[in-house]
């Protein structure tokens, strides 16, 4: 039972991560491999504050959001200057740099050893400790994330995002300051990912840089690819599928390293399979094919 709750909590965390990335990549078309970086910064900021100045959980989360948001702005700002395919590489670069800082700035972040003993959250007197309580917490945060994302996506702002995704030049000609929108959606997405990071940190009570590598970014973007770029519910389904899949393999009785490799192989095959035959994913509306005449190089 505890195991099932643990899986559900993980699903919750990845729902928040993938929905926030979907806003950036699926709805606005900015493929970003830096998302694990925002996730990691959120986790580390919240944890460092909790461990060093013993501030309350909500304050830590707020600071995590702010710092991650600033980072999001840094990543999103060059989006207009650096062109499409090179932009993915730029986000890759940011991801590696963030990971390097987390891994190598030993005096500040603990380096590869990570941070341990992260206190569990206390929210207005409610000490979140059991699995059920964490599930409640992450469940409400998921609901909040979905609500916020739905509002954004169905608003005129969301309409502009979709226009930018399909034809940036058309969006400019319609009077939209494309650079500003790109910046804002990165800030929003990064802030949401930070929340997931903060909760993850105090759930597991221990974090290290290996949870926030480029492979993690790739995992999150795979959720979107499989669930559907530009679809909120598709993302939820994608998260459920990709989080439970490795757990199912666990029951096949394979030795741990073999299982890890097989899991990755299945996962790479899913990536290829979807990209070749169903790039829109299960429920999505964007097939990663940038539109607009003359947009082919």
């Amino acid at each position: 039972m505890e195991y099932l709750l643990h899986i559900l909590i993980l699903i919750g965390i990845y729902v928040i991560l993938s929905i926030s990335l979907n806003l950036i990549s699926g709805f606005t078309g900015l493929i970003s491999l830096a998302h694990a970086g925002f996730y990691g910064v959120g986790a580390y900021v919240a944890s460092l504050m909790a461990l060093n100045i013993h501030s309350p959980f909500l304050v830590n989360v707020l600071c995590a959001i702010i710092l991650s948001g600033i980072l999001g702005a840094l990543v999103g700002a060059p989006a207009l200057r650096i062109h499409d395919d090179y932009f993915v590489i730029a986000t890759f670069a940011f991801q590696v740099i963030i990971f390097s800082i987390l891994n190598n700035w030993v005096s500040f972040t603990g380096g590869p050893i990570g941070l341990a003993g992260i206190p569990q959250p206390i929210i207005f007197g409610w000490n979140v400790s059991s699995h059920i309580e964490f599930l409640l917490l992450i469940g409400s945060l998921c609901a909040l994330t979905l609500w916020v994302s739905r509002r954004v996506v169905n608003s005129p702002f969301g309409r502009v995002l979709k226009a930018i995704r399909e034809d940036e030049i058309f969006a400019q000609a319609a009077g939209k300051n494309v650079a500003k929108y790109k910046l804002q959606i990165f800030v929003l997405g990064a802030g949401m990912a930070a929340v997931a990071g903060a909760v993850y940190a105090c759930y597991i009570t221990f974090i290290d840089p290996t949870s926030f590598t480029i492979m993690e970014s790739i995992f999150i973007i795979s959720i979107i690819i499989i669930g559907g770029a530009g679809s909120l519910w598709g993302t939820v389904i994608g998260a459920v599928v990709l989080v439970t899949l490795p757990e199912v393999l666990r029951f096949a009785g394979l030795p741990a390293t073999v299982a890890a490799n097989i899991r990755q192989i299945i996962y790479g095959s899913l990536l290829i399979g979807f990209m070749m035959w169903r790039p829109k994913g299960l429920l999505g509306e964007y097939s990663f094919q940038r539109g607009g005449p003359g947009s082919e190089r």
Binding site: P78, D85, I89, I262, G268, L271, I272
Partner: protein, 292 residues
């Protein structure tokens, strides 16, 4: 001391430049970043390992057989996957993600079959190297640099003078025009990937001979190669070479104070600076923005 750093930089850049040229070849001709090249970089020395350790072939023969075997693998991959994607006019992003999936599969297959521990194919006896003013360079390292120079020159000659080289350039500039002029664009793309694969495989073997091999060696090398290609200017082989040298020198000398663990981050900071302020690379020409 300074000389040792230069030598280290030269050796490192010899691997990066080869895979970088391969990556830029694919980038120019097929218009996407091929992550699976990193897997082929890894697979090649492991092929050699297989031939040497499991079948008992001598080292040199293993190496000589491994490279074309890897290129054959690339042909299979191309005809089964990339060809379809190009004909369907899939966007560069989709193809990049497919190549990523391929990388993941291949790398994990290597891990499954051979394990994650470090494997060795270099000869066990201690190699006598050269000493130049108290800087040491092993014979393997020296060979690395020489082979790199040889292959770079070979590639440049191939691209400039041979029929396939001209076809490659034509497709790189304008695939539709090339097709109309009678060039088999699909075949040319296959050639570009096979040549790139050969270069990458060779680089993998050179690296394995110097610092041994692990299943994940390819991704780091590919990434460095891509960074070298982008900051040097992917349009010309010379550009990639300069980029690789520039990168290796900055890493080994400029970041000397910080230590090797910051090499990767340093490379990416340089990359970002170039992408922001000089996207055409060290020697490239200004790229035209999308026309309206």
């Amino acid at each position: 001391m300074f000389l040792q750093l230069i030598i280290n930089a030269l050796v490192a850049s010899s691997w990066y430049v080869l895979i970088g040229i391969g990556a830029s070849l694919i980038l120019r001709t097929c218009r996407f970043f091929d992550i699976s090249l990193g897997a082929l970089f890894t697979v090649c020395p492991y092929f050699a390992f297989l031939l040497k350790e499991w079948f008992g072939f001598p080292l040199v023969l293993s190496i000589v057989l491994a490279i074309p075997s890897t290129m054959l693998l690339e042909v299979i991959i191309y005809t089964s996957m990339y060809s379809f994607l190009f004909r369907a006019k899939a966007s560069p992003l989709i193809i990049l993600l497919v190549s990523l999936g391929l990388y993941i599969i291949l790398q994990n297959l290597v891990s499954l079959i051979f394990g994650d521990d470090t494997k060795i194919i270099r000869p066990i006896e201690v190699q006598e190297g050269l000493s130049i003013f108290s800087a040491k360079i092993s014979s393997i390292q020296g060979v690395s640099i020489l082979i790199a120079i040889f292959l770079i020159t070979l590639t440049i000659v191939l691209i400039r003078k041979s029929k396939i080289g001209k076809a490659l350039r034509a497709v790189a500039i304008d695939p539709e025009l090339a097709a109309v002029s009678g060039i088999e664009v699909d075949l040319v793309r296959l050639w570009s990937m096979v040549i790139a694969c050969g270069l990458a495989g060779a680089a993998g073997i050179l690296m394995a001979l110097d610092i041994d091999m692990t299943p994940t060696m390819g991704l780091d090398a590919l990434v460095m190669g891509l960074v070298a290609a982008i900051i040097g200017g992917p349009e010309k082989v010379i550009g990639v070479t300069l980029g690789a040298l520039f990168l290796a020198i900055v890493q080994h000398i400029g970041l000397w104070e910080l230590g090797p663990k910051w090499h990767e981050a340093g490379a990416f900071v340089i990359l970002l600076l170039f992408l922001l302020f000089r996207p055409e690379g060290l020697i490239g020409r200004k790229v035209k923005k999308a026309t309206v």
